[in-house]
């Protein structure tokens, strides 16, 4: 490396970087606060018992968004109960059993790629495969499964990294005590990787909740509360999209957005809190 | 971790032993000389300097304790440290015995009992000195041949003694006092060794050199 002439002394460089880094960090927070604040500012005024728990009137110009809230939870729930076991078990396989053959490398690459594919592509796939080919129609099930496909790569990636990050020494200690490989995994490795795996699930869940494009093609747009997985539904992001773009009601759109933001905030904050408590208990500090 | 310090310490201790043993051989020579030549002056000098000379023994002993305790040597280094420790004690005893010989010089002069000076004494003195020189030399050079030469000389020593003894026996018409004195002599020597032991025991309990052998040197210095 060619040595550069000293234009700035290390002392000054340090000070400058201090300011820059703090500035950028604060800027990120400020932007976040502005966005959330803006939505809440415009959306909270819509909040009323009727808005939250009532049914929409017309195509949503007034009334409530209760069915949309239910739809969101329903669809996300389906997505998670399908994606989590698949993602976590696949992560375990990749991290602990699969080895490093070319095939495995290819699988990893495929997972990475899937994680970046635009959601509308998943939507199209869901439409042709679940809705049409498997004849599930526009339903919670079609939507949930499509979202599951989107969530799996995220969960898998994060879970795999967390599992690989578990120190080898824990595994050795377990094996030396006479535990089998699987016992070691479910008694020591997974519990140690829980914080990371949980993060992965949250990220996967976030991808599912926020989804609009994939949902658009798979879940229909019904205004009623879905009663079973075969019913069509209208989760919040979709409702928001329709209200906004079809000019039905901008205030209600904000209200919907506010509900969405609050739901995500509550879930994220409480999960982080639980993970922190768990880590403290595990690590004693 | 290889300890250059340990090697240097052991080397310096062997040098100290060499110096101490040279002084010891010298004293044997002069003590016997003083007896043969009725040199009371010399005899008194020898007795007086015993304490001073034997300080070396304590110094060497301290050095060995340091090496053994602080460096925890093993194998050859350990055995070397232990050997040096033992040698210094034996040299100490030998120096005490040359003081005793000097005492006899003074006593026999005082009581005018100085007729009999057989040549065997000289031979014995020479032999013991050679044994000592060879013994210490074998330690320094790690030479088993030298050691053998030293131990073989004991036979000569014993022979000279036996010859001298039988001559003396004839002269005194084989009285039982001779054996009496021999036994007494040996017992007294044992006493000396026990005193040396006691000196070390006192040190191990108290941690300071509290019991010098000043007791019997005062005895000799009347």
């Amino acid at each position: 490396m060619i040595s550069m002439p000293r234009i700035i002394s290390p002392h000054h460089a340090q000070k400058i970087m201090n300011v820059v880094l703090w500035g950028v960090g604060l800027l990120a927070i400020v932007i976040l606060i502005i966005i959330i604040g803006y939505i809440l500012w415009n959306g909270l005024p819509q909040f009323s018992l009727e808005f939250i728990f009532g049914n929409p009137v017309g195509s949503g110009e007034s009334g409530g968004i209760w069915p949309m809230i239910v739809s969101t939870f329903y669809v996300t729930f389906i997505a998670l109960i399908v994606a989590t076991p698949l993602g976590v078990l696949a992560a375990i396989w990749l991290a602990e059993y699969a080895g490093e053959s070319t095939l495995v490398k290819a699988i990893r690459f495929a997972a990475e790629t899937l994680a970046s594919i635009p959601s509308i592509v998943f939507g199209l796939f869901g439409l042709t495969f679940f809705v049409v080919f498997l004849q599930m129609g526009f339903s919670v099930l079609s939507g949930g499964l499509t979202l599951a496909l989107m969530a799996i790569p995220t969960i898998l990636r994060t879970a795999e990294v967390s599992i690989e990050a578990v120190p080898q020494s824990y595994k050795e200690g377990s094996l030396a005590l006479g535990a089998s490989k699987w016992q070691t995994i479910y008694r020591v490795v997974i519990p140690a990787a829980i914080p990371g795996i949980t993060t992965g699930i949250i990220l996967g869940m976030a991808r599912a909740i926020e989804e609009t494009a994939a949902i658009l093609y798979t879940v229909g747009a019904a205004l009623a509360i879905p009663m079973s997985i075969w019913d069509p539904a209208r989760p919040l992001p979709l409702h928001l999209y329709i209200l906004a773009t079809e000019g039905v009601s901008l205030p209600n759109a904000y209200g919907t957005a506010a509900v969405l933001v609050l739901i995500i905030l509550i879930i994220t904050i409480s999960t982080n809190y639980l993970v922190e408590k768990y880590t403290k208990k595990m690590m004693g500090r | 971790m290889y300890n250059v310090v340990l090697e240097n310490k052991l080397e310096s201790l062997t040098k100290d032993v060499l110096i101490y043993s040279n002084q010891t051989t010298d004293r044997i020579d002069r003590a016997v000389d003083s007896y043969i030549n009725d040199d009371v002056e010399l005899a008194r000098k020898i007795i007086k300097s015993t304490d001073e000379i034997n300080k070396d023994s304590y110094n060497i002993e301290d050095g060995c304790l340091k090496v053994l305790g602080l460096h925890q040597p093993v194998a050859k280094d350990l055995r070397m440290g232990a050997a040096i420790l033992r040698i210094s004690i034996e040299l100490e005893r030998i120096n005490d015995l040359s003081a005793y010989i000097s005492r006899y010089t003074i006593d026999s002069e005082e009581r005018n009992l100085k007729i009999h000076k057989p040549p065997h004494l000289m031979f014995m003195s020479q032999t013991v000195q050679n044994m000592l020189k060879d013994g210490v030399g074998s330690l320094i050079n790690q030479d088993l041949h030298l050691l053998k030469r030293s131990t073989k000389n004991y036979n000569n020593l014993q022979d000279f003694y036996n010859q001298m003894f039988s001559e003396y026996n004839e002269l005194t018409h084989g009285g039982s006092q001779t054996y009496l004195i021999l036994v007494g002599r040996n017992l007294l020597s044992m006493g000396h060794h026990v005193m040396g032991m006691a000196d070390r025991i006192a040190y191990s309990i108290v941690g300071k050199r509290v019991m010098h052998t000043k007791l019997f040197h005062n005895l000799l210095m009347r």
Binding site: Y170, G173, A176, M283 | Y2, A75
Partner: protein, 252 residues
């Protein structure tokens, strides 16, 4: 003649083409401490790990020769590795308690072997912690995370969880090298106590530790055993010059 619990005959081990252990013959006497000394990288740890088949997890590992535990070859196809590791436990160089509570750490081995009886576990955890001289220090905080203990305590915890499964042999791979002198002394005292009930094989770089703690010693050099026998003999009257040179520090 001492009662021998492990017999090693003509043991050779390889990692792919790399020949690590060469023609090892060693008898391990029961209820005694045997220490393995030698310069780094000379196969001592590999040897240790071969005794409880921890090397099985390395795909390039190959073993030739005989290792008998109580007369039975441990690499026989009908040997259950899980059972072997119950009989031959291991304590590692860096203390590696699980990120669980102190109680769960000690109970781990028992649970893994199917014991889930609360009362029984409590009794055995207490007994093991007492035997490992750790009970008094942790009895009021058994549910606290083991990661909050000091290094020396963690290592004693690892010993406690190993003895909880009642092994016959305990393998120790430089158990004190990551610890301060006082913790080291505590663990050496513990080893003195434990040898009455268990057979202990300890790898150590600390010559003084070997002399303090073990009755038998084997000196490994470049994958071979150069000299083996009573510790006292090896350290005071070694027979092989290479042994003498190593233990006096003239190389190593």
């Amino acid at each position: 003649m001492e009662n021998i619990i492990i017999e090693v005959k003509e043991l050779n081990t390889y990692f792919d083409e790399s020949h690590i252990l060469k023609d090892i013959y060693l008898d391990i006497p029961r209820n005694a401490v045997t220490s393995l000394i030698g310069p780094s990288g000379c196969g001592k740890s590999t040897f240790l790990r071969t005794l409880n088949r921890m090397n099985d997890v390395i795909p390039t590992f190959k073993k030739e020769g005989t290792i008998l535990l109580d007369g039975k070859e441990i690499y026989d196809p009908d040997v259950d590795v899980v059972d072997l590791r119950k009989r031959v436990g291991m304590v590692f160089q860096k203390p590696n308690p699980f990120p669980k509570s102190i109680f769960e750490n000690v109970a781990y081995g028992l649970r893994v072997h199917g014991n889930n009886d609360k009362k029984d576990l409590e009794r055995r955890v207490e007994a093991s912690l007492k035997e490992a001289a750790l009970w008094d220090e942790v009895k009021d905080k058994l549910d606290d995370s083991a990661m909050g203990l000091s290094g020396g305590q963690q290592q004693r915890l690892c010993i406690a969880r190993t003895i909880a499964v009642e092994p016959e042999v305990i393998l120790m791979d430089e158990p004190c090298s990551a610890l301060d002198p006082i913790s080291t002394t505590k663990i050496e005292d513990l080893i003195h106590k434990l040898k009455n009930e268990f057979t202990i094989i300890i790898v150590t770089h600390n010559m003084q530790q070997a002399t303090r703690v073990s009755k038998y010693t084997a000196f490994f050099l470049h994958g071979e055993i150069v000299e083996k026998g009573l510790t006292d003999k090896i350290f005071i009257e070694p027979e092989d010059k290479r042994t003498e040179d190593y233990i006096t520090g003239r190389f190593g």
